[in-house]
């Protein structure tokens, strides 16, 4: 069991190393190595999943490499196998396999073809490192490596100026979050000098008692640690204050947006909180904070998506708002629901991005939806795939998106968190709006692109490699919900890896009863009503252009400016930083310390010595005068003292 997971974990790494060494080999060799390594990982995780559920042993944790073993602390790299980890790894590997396969054709005419696959393999390895981490240090290392691979992949086209700016910003914002994570990690190591999950889980109630003084006020240690760890998650999963890097990270190639910025990396934060759910259960106040952060992100970022016109940026904002849903679920300690939404979201969001990718390739890298139009006739398969994915995104009944999103909204409503419930309800409306905006504009509207741009004949839509993943992805993004909803709710799926199962049970018995009844019941709820209104509204507004609403200028600019985050991040901070640092360097470092102290002392000594020089006139009588006056002075001195 452990050996298999070890192989699973290391196969992408071996793939990366192999690709690294045969860099300038032929294209198909790279395709071969990269896809096989991910395929092995995928098959292994499926097999392990099956093995785990058949034998269902408890969580297994084993260390395979000692990081540092001294008298003061002992840190290791290890593997932690339980249902949560295996499900997450199968999701990650499956999406990554499909994206690898998809990007063979997407990147085929790119010069640095091999480099792309090195980075994606490396990304999958570091993601698995997080998934299978059995201690906080390995979690942090995987966390940063994922940040590094997203930095490399966003800035993949090194010549593209905006891509370099984007990856610089992305990495720094992730680093802001990582400070929280690092401080949490250090606090744990300091107070319990072990970072191992098991040991921490065992002594978790004793942690609750000690206190930590942060900036003077004393906090309960556990809630301080969990809050700090959540700050790291906020940056990685793009929650409200630290979310402005995700839309810019669309500069990278579309497959990586699908892989990293939709399915896997951004969900690392959610996974971490879910993994540490036993700890989060004991904190006070942190969960409420998470709940409100999640719901605010869900609602407000959804609004911003309405005013965007770049297809990838709209999907990026929708990812942020869906992540808001998941965080809200975590906040309401509905961990398995959050994980369920994470899984379904991974599939249908990856599908959305891949469709967007094929659209972009078709229209020769044109991403502005106002220009593209009427692709229904030319790209039937992408059209169908896109439709299913957006239905699932909206949460249309029967689709898996419906099961995960609706259950989160109803559960939060059921447990009486009123304001977040309202926010999530309203964001259903915004989600339907912007998804149908893309849908109608791209597939039904008229295109303004010059004719030969959009080669007419539908036959060569795109080659097989791009369309096969779309087919494969539509299945889980639509039917997965039905398939795993009941086992999830009864708590078999994430057996003893997530806390607070009894909450889900009570919701299940009290509200849902079973998946089919939940489906029927949903037609009568408000959610479906809002959904319908949204659909009709967008049908009339986008497709028929029946009426036009002039959104007041003030709202439009705030939204485009992403509530000021956009201008903050791309102009304000760099400019302030430049001026401030230049000032610091010029004023303090150079003028005060360097010139002020050092050069001044040297010049002081210089002119002091030049004054002394005047004394040596060269004339004897001056010297004799000096001698005599000194003699007189000494005599007087002797007389006075003697």
């Amino acid at each position: 069991m452990i050996a298999l997971t070890l192989i699973l974990l290391l196969s992408p790494l071996i793939g990366t190393l192999l690709l690294l060494f045969c860099q300038n080999s032929s294209k198909d060799l790279t395709i071969l190595i990269s896809n096989i390594s991910i395929l092995i990982a995928f098959l292994l995780s499926l097999f392990l999943l099956y093995l785990f559920y058949s034998a269902n042993p408890g969580p297994i944790s084993a260390n395979f490499l000692t990081f540092a073993d001294t008298s003061l602390f002992s840190l290791h790299f290890g593997i932690y196998i339980d249902s949560l980890a295996l499900i997450m790894s199968s999701v990650v590997t499956s999406v990554s396999l499909l994206v690898h396969y998809y990007s063979i054709s997407y990147m085929k005419d790119d010069t640095s073809f091999n480099r792309f696959f090195i980075y994606t393999n490396f990304f999958t390895f570091s993601m698995l490192l997080i998934v299978f981490a059995n201690n906080f240090l390995q979690l942090f290392i995987g966390w940063e490596l994922v940040g590094l691979s997203s930095y490399l992949l966003i800035g993949f086209w090194i010549k593209k100026e905006s891509a370099i700016k984007a990856n610089y910003k992305a990495f720094l914002v992730n680093r802001v979050g990582d400070i929280g994570l690092l401080l949490g990690l250090c606090l744990i190591l300091l107070s319990y000098n072990t970072t191992d999950y098991n040991q921490i889980f065992q002594i978790k109630n004793s942690i609750n008692i000690d206190s930590v003084s942060i900036f003077g006020f004393t906090f309960n240690a556990l809630s301080a640690i969990c809050l700090l760890l959540f700050i790291g998650a906020m940056a990685k999963s793009a929650q409200v204050p630290l979310q402005f890097w995700l839309p810019d990270s669309m500069e990278g190639p579309t497959p990586i947006s699908a892989l990293i910025h939709a399915a896997t990396m951004v969900t690392a934060g959610i996974y971490m909180v879910a993994r540490l759910s036993p700890l989060y259960e004991l904190t006070d106040g942190v969960l409420i904070f998470i709940l409100y952060v999640g719901s605010i992100t869900a609602f407000f970022l959804g609004l911003v998506a309405l005013v965007q016109n770049d297809i990838k940026r709209i999907i990026a904002y929708s990812t942020i708002s869906q992540l808001g849903y998941m965080t809200a679920a975590l906040g309401a300690s509905l961990y398995s629901l959050a994980m369920f939404h994470l899984i379904t979201h991974a599939f249908f969001k990856a599908l959305l991005f891949l469709c967007a990718g094929s659209i972009i390739i078709k229209c020769h890298h044109e991403q502005d939806i106002r220009k593209i139009g009427g692709l229904r006739k030319y790209m039937p398969i992408t059209y169908l795939a896109f439709m299913y994915a957006s239905l699932s995104l909206i949460g249309f009944p029967i689709t898996s998106g419906f099961y995960s999103k609706e259950s989160i909204i109803d559960a939060i409503g059921y447990f009486g968190h009123t304001i977040p419930y309202l926010m999530l309800l309203l964001s259903i409306f915004t989600t339907t709006l912007y998804t149908s905006k893309i849908f109608f504009k791209v597939f039904f509207g008229e295109s303004t692109l010059p004719k030969e741009e959009q080669n007419e004949n539908p036959s060569n839509e795109n080659d097989r490699q791009m369309l096969l993943p779309l087919f494969i992805l539509t299945a889980p993004s639509v039917f997965l919900g039905l398939f795993i909803y009941d086992p999830l709710m009864i708590g078999i799926l994430f057996q003893n890896s997530l806390a607070a199962n009894e909450l889900i049970m009570s919701f299940y018995n009290g509200y849902v009863i079973n998946s089919f009844k939940f489906f029927l019941h949903s037609f009568t709820t408000i959610n479906f009503l809002i959904l319908l209104i949204g659909l009709i509204f967008s049908y009339l507004y986008y497709y028929k252009k029946a009426f036009s609403i002039n959104v007041p200028h003030f709202i439009r600019t705030t939204l485009t400016k992403e509530y000021g985050f956009e201008s903050l991040s791309s102009y304000l901070i760099p400019k302030v930083q430049n001026i401030f640092t230049k000032y610091l360097w010029r004023k303090i470092d150079i003028s005060t310390i360097d010139n002020g102290l050092i050069n001044n002392t040297s010049s002081f000594i210089n002119n002091l010595s030049s004054k002394m020089k005047k004394l040596q006139t060269g004339f004897i009588y001056h010297y004799s005068l000096i001698i005599i006056s000194a003699l007189i002075f000494l005599l007087i001195l002797m007389r006075l003292t003697y």
């Binding site: 540092a68 240090l137 940063e144 090194i158 690092l182 300091l190």
Partner: protein, 500 residues
């Protein structure tokens, strides 16, 4: 267990060969490079043998060589080595070996004396790390300046005169104070051996003065915040290998001196002043990172970044004072973190200076705006440079992270504010290193006016071996930890013994 005195050979062999090289100026470039390569290789092998035969479990002074030197003042030629010195000796020999490889492709006028000075410098560095008699330590500590002064002075950049004189006088001023305190201590303990100083009972005022004297003496060497302005100038003017050896090993002498002298002797004063000193190193970390961000000159940027990283080292050391009272394990973590940070910063800053040297060789300009779009023409080189920039900003999985991680853990022990401010360096170091990477490596460069072409084989070897070591120390720094573990706990116990 050794028939021949290993430490003395480590010191005097390179000095001897160096002198020959300097003296015989007419031997050709190729011959002098082979000689240097050979000697540095031998030294590397000896120090690896030293490392293997140094048994970590005991951890006290080993390979002791003690002969009477000046019987009148009972000064001894006293060489010995403990965990900390072994790691630094290894670092020196490794870096010098890399310099020899790198320098083989360089061509400087009268290159044999250029390489000769490096060998002398290597020998003196070995001496500083293994001297256990304070006067011997002081002599080696002082004589370090001379070869470097010549290297920067003769083969340096444009206004090298200003830089070298400033560098020389600055460190000289520091060490004068140090000499006074050594003599003061010596006539108290009427012996110059360092461990005799440990058991002296000093009054509080004495300790305060000694602390300040040692602090200034070593603070200038480790450029601590207010006295750091000599480093950027020295780096900008030094030739590539000169600034490599300066950044990677010479700064560690200051840190090593602090651990050897400051910690065990002036404990009471240290505890009393520890808050101010931690504020100093915090300023060094945060303020200097801001200043590093504003640089236009690549070398200056890396020089300021090494000041910031050395801020972590000093912080680790002063935390020991702060935490001695209530939490000795955190103090030990801090000190171990400082030690690891020294070694890892030595490797990373050496690598970064090598990269800048390679780029300078093609574009002949150190300014950031003159170098752009390097990645298009030098893919392997820019891969390694991105790796080192990442290591410089403390990416876990590289050795840069380990040191900072431990120092932040122990700083959280004393107060959350210290930990938070130290952790801030995570963003700041990332911001300036990646800014360098962004402006220099990426971006579009059609006509390749700077004439970048892929780096030669020996440069690849140099950078490759540094990548391997930084990764190895990042993934499993266990080998370093059990080397340092015993010596660090000895120092902590000798401090608590001193205080009790």
């Amino acid at each position: 267990m050794f028939d021949y005195p290993i430490l003395s050979t480590l010191i005097w062999l390179p000095i001897f060969v160096g002198l020959i090289l300097v003296a015989s100026n007419d031997i050709g470039k190729s011959l002098s490079t082979t000689i240097t390569l050979l000697t540095t290789l031998i030294i590397l092998i000896i120090s690896i043998k030293l490392f293997q035969s140094y048994d970590h479990s005991v951890g006290n002074l080993q390979f002791i060589e003690k002969f009477v030197w000046i019987s009148g003042l009972n000064i001894f030629y006293y060489l010995a080595v403990d965990g900390i010195s072994v790691s630094l000796v290894l670092l020196t020999s490794f870096i010098n070996f890399l310099i020899a490889i790198y320098a083989s492709s360089e061509d400087y006028n009268n290159k044999s004396s250029y390489l000769g000075y490096f060998l002398i410098l290597e020998g003196l560095l070995m001496g500083t790390f293994s001297a256990f008699d304070s006067i011997l330590f002081y002599i080696f500590f002082e004589s370090l300046l001379i070869p470097l002064f010549l290297i920067i002075g003769i083969w340096g950049g444009e206004n090298r005169k200003y830089a070298t004189i400033k560098f020389f006088l600055y460190t000289f001023f520091g060490s004068v104070l140090m000499l006074i305190s050594i003599i003061y201590l010596a006539n108290l303990a009427d012996s110059f051996a360092i461990e005799d100083f440990y058991y002296l009972t000093l009054s509080f005022e004495e300790e305060i003065f000694l602390l300040l004297a040692f602090l200034i003496g070593f603070g200038i060497k480790v450029p601590m915040w207010p006295v750091h302005t000599w480093l950027p100038d020295a780096h900008v003017e030094a030739p590539t290998s000169g600034s490599v050896i300066l950044a990677s090993v010479l700064l560690k002498v200051g840190g090593y001196g602090m651990i050897r002298f400051l910690l065990p002797i002036t404990t009471e004063a240290g505890i009393y002043l520890s808050d101010y000193m931690i504020y100093l190193s915090l300023i060094a970390i945060i303020y200097i990172s801001f200043v590093a961000f504003a640089q236009e000159d690549m070398k200056k940027l890396i020089a300021y970044s090494s000041v910031a990283h050395m801020g972590f080292v000093t912080m680790g050391i002063f935390l020991v004072f702060n935490l001695m009272g209530n939490n000795p394990t955190a103090a030990a973590i801090g000190l171990e973190g400082a030690m690891v940070q020294m070694i890892s910063h030595g490797l990373i800053s050496a690598a970064l200076f090598f990269c800048i040297g390679i780029m300078y060789k093609h574009s002949h300009s150190r300014l950031i705006k003159d170098n752009f779009g390097v990645a298009q023409f030098m893919p392997i080189f820019s891969f390694m440079m991105v790796f080192f920039l990442m290591a410089n900003s403390g990416l876990p999985g590289t050795s840069g992270f380990v040191g900072e991680f431990l120092v932040i853990t122990s700083s959280l022990g004393s107060s959350f504010l210290f930990g938070f401010l130290a952790a801030l360096s995570l963003i700041l170091s990332a911001s300036y290193s990646l800014k360098l990477g962004k402006n220099v490596l990426f971006g579009d460069n059609q006509k390749n006016s700077q004439g970048y072409l892929e780096c030669k084989s020996n440069e690849k070897i140099v950078l490759g071996s540094l990548v391997i070591f930084v990764l190895y120390l990042g993934i499993s720094p266990d080998v370093l930890f059990n080397l340092l573990d015993k010596s660090v706990s000895d120092i902590i116990s000798s401090i608590s013994l001193g205080r009790a």
